[in-house]
Symmetry: C2
Subunit: 379 residues, 2 copies
């Protein structure tokens, strides 16, 4: 009951044009022949992660997206602001495939034993270009899914799980013992909450709404602080004091949240230090910004002494830092807990064409916590 | 012709009071008996460094300083703003001596051989409480000055020279090969310019005024960018591109300068990288904030990918990082070049009482580049 492999199939593309617009479309491209160490995956599910949006939307104003073309082959354009355009120079005129990860069925395999062994199997894969009906992937980038697991369950096996594992590994590598996490009710945040519980790592969850507090508390979270509450700074200082958290991962980026976290860490450190120290506490306080839900500037008030750092954190350099063996260890961990710790949930499923409807684009561009789209390229 | 040692002598003190003011005064304190490994230094010169101002002024509004008491024993009060007061809690009511470094004559010595060997010598010393007529110091904190060198020439032997050496050492420890420095026409900036030339480390100097550009160029600086010039971003990008500088030390702290430096580093890295990278260039770009000439918030626009960091940098933790041997090596270097690379200059000399005149306080609180005070406690 195998489906015949077509000669061509659809692939989602994003291109930035000279006139400062991004254009999204579905291109008919040749289905590739897998090389010796590759498998051809019929992609059945691919999530839209925040980390896909930069490449997909190129910083364009999604609220001004306009669609033309037939319903099954839409062409969407949206304006790219001046401020963003400078960073886009190198991709002007280059039509780029999108989609960091996904899962599907191996429908053809290269000559190597490792490739042949995957024929007919469901696999998750990372490596880009997954918003497509077919994708040829190196065997090394595939994670075989347990027998009987549908592709949709394995579509988010890399980005969020490896990021969650990466946060806790980074904590250990840099000699911290507890974590603070923002936008903590996200799919990723819920995973981190589960993983920290199983690792007995104290975690301070920062959310923005009461129902998100409730969600995390009902999932067993010990420390949940609502940044919209008038008592937020006191609540966070108390939670940071009890957990001794000196490392935070921040998904918001813009605004004062990163700075507020450092302020509370410093207040907690000073409270336990006793005597006055003219340059602040000696304990190093770090915030890594790994997302940009708020694209405005980050504002640092610097009222936390001199032992602090803020910086970008990205999965790929972290994986390079821990090396191939480290990556393999983390992937085994993900595979073993794919339906428990590292389970994902989606609020909507769309086809490739559905992912290019302006209202859908606007919905995922908002990156509302709790809202997550899954593309079914062959659905 | 040795002066008799008095039983008591003056020491400058700073105390933050419950009613949110800082009070500066000269206290009559007992001249200490040196312990076995200590020497008693008659302090002849001590600089007012930016790093002394936090302890001295406690973030008070110097423009509102009011002096009472006799001319030779003034008592100055100035209001501490609400925003700063929170960080001052631990020092409320604690009268604190001030002055990170200075130089003078050893007029008494403890029983150890090392202490006795310094008797009668001119020494520079670090360790705090140097805004005083007499200070007992551990021998390990003393740097004997070359024969015949007046104390004033050795008064700034630690903070600025070690900071300059620390910047270049940090650059090497963290695998960078060139530096960017702001407020580059300062005493410290001029030292860094000389040291980088002798070490053949490419240095990009950022200043704010044409005469500062001229000062540094006439001192042999290859790269000087004026942040007030309309072409600043292009100039800095070009200089960073030519030097491949990926590390900056920023004395200003507040505002957008740190962010602008990262933006220019990213532009230079992208220009040399060729193809578009969705998360920005892979090269890590770092700004260390070591001063706070602008006490306003630091604003980061984050248009420089994910491989970036901003953080505080302080001399003391750096010295701990390199250990005793490393510190000894740097101190030998300073001693050998005290009248060349590491020479300081002062715009004004004042007595202890003179340092507490409101107009003088306001002058050094402004931290104008090129203006530097030297206190002569026995002058």
């Amino acid at each position: 009951m195998s489906t015949p492999i077509p000669a061509t199939a659809l692939q989602l593309r994003s291109v930035v044009t000279e006139d400062q617009t991004v254009q999204l479309s579905l291109e008919e491209v040749a289905v590739p022949e897998p090389g010796p160490d590759e498998v051809l995956v019929r992609v059945e599910a691919a999530p839209i992660n925040p980390s896909d949006l930069g490449l997909l939307l190129a910083g364009a104003d999604a609220t001004a997206a306009v669609s033309t073309g037939p319903a099954d082959r839409p062409v969407v354009t949206a304006p790219v602001p001046d401020t963003v355009m400078r960073a886009m120079r190198a991709r002007v005129g280059v039509s780029m495939p999108v989609g960091n990860e996904g899962a599907g069925t191996v429908v053809a395999a290269g000559s190597s034993g490792a490739a042949q062994a995957l024929l007919g199997k469901s696999v998750a894969a990372a490596g880009g270009s997954m918003y497509a009906q077919y994708r040829s992937v190196n065997v090394g980038l595939c994670l075989p899914l347990p027998d009987g697991m549908p592709a949709a369950k394995g579509a988010s096996s890399f980005v969020n799980p490896m990021t969650v594992l990466g946060m806790v590994e980074t904590m250990r590598l840099e000699h911290h013992t507890a974590l603070v996490h923002t936008a903590a009710a996200s799919n990723l945040g819920q995973m981190l909450n589960r993983h920290c519980q199983s690792e007995q790592v104290p975690l301070v969850n920062i959310v923005r709404r009461p129902e998100q507090e409730e969600l995390l508390r009902s999932a067993g979270a010990d420390y949940v602080c609502n940044s919209a509450a008038p008592t937020f700074m006191d609540d966070l200082t108390a939670a940071v004091g009890r957990t001794s958290a000196t490392l935070a991962f921040d998904a918001t980026g813009g605004g004062r949240l990163a700075s507020q976290i450092l302020t509370c860490m410093e207040a907690a450190a000073s409270a336990s230090a006793g005597a006055y120290s003219r340059y602040g506490s000696a304990v190093h306080k770090q915030v890594y910004i790994y997302g940009s839900l708020d694209r405005g500037p980050t504002e640092l008030t610097r009222n936390y002494g001199m032992a602090w750092g803020v910086g970008g954190w990205l999965l790929t350099p972290f994986l390079q830092r821990i090396g191939l063996e480290g990556v393999a260890r983390l992937r085994d961990r993900v595979a073993a807990e794919l339906t428990t710790t590292f389970a994902s949930s989606y609020t909507d499923e769309v086809t490739l064409a559905g992912a290019l409807q302006p209202d859908v684009i606007q919905a995922y561009a908002r990156q509302a916590t709790g809202s997550k789209y899954l593309i079914l390229p062959n659905g």
